[in-house]
Point group: C2
Chain length 377, copies 2
């Protein structure tokens, strides 16, 4: 099955990096693109009109969280994610596998699916490849993700590591087949997920197997869990060699500037991450001059904007002194203003990446971001 | 001393109700007007561009809170309240007397002023009529308030009540004289505060004495502390009889719809209250059909806007179902959207009051609001 209303075309290349256009039933996404995380259907503290003003093209919500509250039937009744949230652009829903497998001892995994106690009320719940697709069809996402098994490397159990990594990867593949068979909505794209832990060979096998099943796009799952930057690059490249050029590729859950440009350089098209909003709430701002710890007493009397080179609503109107004050007293507007800046910074970085790829200057942008990695304002 | 750059003119009357224009160095306020409360220089969770879009004409901050954090020197260095906050319209600062006298056992009051332990770090601090003016001059408010003594009636000490009420009123008057003498900023208006507890006679005496000192405007303090609606009306009218027609009158701290129209009917021009934002955070919305408990499960699947007759950003884009979801999960966007609605509702009520006074139909508006007082959506 292939979703209708979807079309991905690569419009420019610069080395392995590529820019393109992903058409969905709810609008076009210029890639490489960052998806702002709206786990429960809302980006924390940031309203939809503000998000649109920041240039957010596509949002990400979580199947598992929305299944728990308010439930997919309620959302379907309110017009799906688009009508429910008021954001009419494209939505992608993560399947919830990553979140559910984080529940550790509350979670039981078998061939059929995942059973777990709800952290909310202890109720036993389950998620299967089929139910994850069914929920996402009700949510009305433009792009759904298959249910996967994310194996987290445990440093204290080295001998069994490679066996566990392989098992999780194979389980993910078997579930990918069931997910593909469960699809019933012709207007919803579904992406497969590559697993394989820290083994390049397993990732290549996983990618090839997932492509055999056939999806509208492919994601790298289970990365950003502490592996070194260079190793991550190798793992992405290993998988990517087995992925078709004409399908979008999505790196799940990473969003630091350096992670984004590294992956764009390897040919990744889509990203999502809570880092811009989570860092914002904690007063850590990405800027064109490096990281800024906005709560620092150094900024108490500083009239300059957080990032003088930024065009966001925060930087065009708010001083470091005012932002520090709001964050220091725990006023929620501080978290909101910092989140707005970090989201705009991230979205603008991807805008710049798209322009740089078109101009053949992406390597320079990547060097610029890498040079800022350890800089502090 | 009379502040320059200020001018108040009554432009229409309807019974005792009046509408007018209060010109300040940072812009004109159409009265009767509601001042959104930005205690620490920010309305909780609502950004300045959004506030401006709601029609906020003037904001209120608190001297005592800003003196504690970040301090008046920091704010002065960042361009006063206007530059610091990014809201360039008029600001009024409350003196902090009400807040400091709420500290009860942490607070000591004598002829000189109020000494108290900071709730933040236990440091001994003091506020005198002179220091309250000096701090407000540094904050750069367009309108400053004198330091007053707000006596809270104690039902368990009836015999001494009238003595205490009189003492607080007389203390406030003596401090009013010192406040007036302490003024040094020609571009800052200062309002005196009428006290007198629940005695109409004391309130009349207080008003007459405060007018003798001479201020740019006059406020009713110490109301909204549990007295019945009818008694409050009598107390306001008693004081108002001694207040000059050509000066603005401000009822401090009340903001329920019924309180606003009652006081407008008595000729009050200015209001402030945390009720719109506090209620919003708790999911209680004022609407044109009555109070709406937005967290109620009844609204889970309700696609209608919170208030179908409202023109705010929330009601034009958000369903009851979505708002209920956000408030239920404790997502801060829910509090923000509800606060935005309640602020707009309140600001619009005052807009309607101004139009009704000009049209001679204010009594009908007051009846409409009174009829809604016990209505629930």
């Amino acid at each position: 099955m292939k979703a209708s209303g979807f079309c991905f075309e690569v419009t420019a290349r610069d080395g392995a990096a590529r820019s393109g256009r992903l058409a969905t039933p709810h609008g076009v996404v210029e890639t490489p693109a960052f998806m702002c995380v709206a786990t429960y259907g809302a980006v924390r503290g940031v309203s939809m009109p503000v998000l649109e003003g920041l240039g957010a093209q596509i949002l990400l919500a979580n199947t598992y969280h929305l299944h728990e509250r308010p439930g997919e039937d309620t959302i379907a009744g309110l017009g799906g994610l688009h009508g429910f949230s008021g954001f009419g652009g494209p939505w992608l829903t993560d399947s919830g596998g990553y979140q559910v497998t984080s529940l550790a001892d509350r979670m039981q995994l078998d061939e059929d699916g995942i059973t777990f106690s709800s952290p909310l009320d202890g109720t036993r719940r389950s998620l299967t490849p089929e139910s994850a697709i069914a929920i996402q069809e009700k949510l009305g996402a433009d792009i759904a993700m298959v249910l996967d098994v994310c194996h987290r490397p445990r440093p204290d159990a080295k001998e069994s590591e490679s066996r566990r990594m392989r098992e999780a990867m194979e389980q993910t593949l078997r579930w990918a087949r069931r997910s593909a068979a469960a699809r019933s909505r012709p207007d919803q794209a579904v992406f497969g997920i590559v697993q394989g832990g820290l083994s390049a060979e397993l990732r290549r096998t996983s990618a090839a197997g997932t492509v055999d099943v056939g999806f509208d796009g492919y994601a790298h799952g289970g990365l950003g869990l502490g592996e070194p930057r260079s190793q991550r690059g190798e793992l992405i490249e290993a998988a990517q060699a087995a992925l078709p050029e004409e399908r979008p590729r999505y790196l799940m859950g990473l969003g630091h500037p350096i992670d984004l440009v590294d992956a764009v350089a390897a040919g990744v098209d889509l990203f999502d991450c809570v880092v811009p909003t989570r860092n914002g709430r904690h007063g850590v701002l990405f800027t064109s001059r490096g990281r800024l710890q906005a709560k620092s007493a150094r900024f108490r009397d500083d009239p300059r904007p957080p990032d003088p080179d930024c065009d966001c609503a925060t930087c065009s109107r708010v001083s470091r002194g005012y932002l520090r004050h709001l964050l220091s007293i725990g006023e929620s507007l501080g978290a909101q203003l910092a989140s707005v800046h970090n989201l705009r910074f991230t979205l603008r970085l991807l805008e710049r990446a798209r322009a740089a790829i078109a101009a053949g200057t992406f390597a320079a942008l990547r060097r610029e971001v890498a040079a800022l990695e350890d800089a502090r304002v």
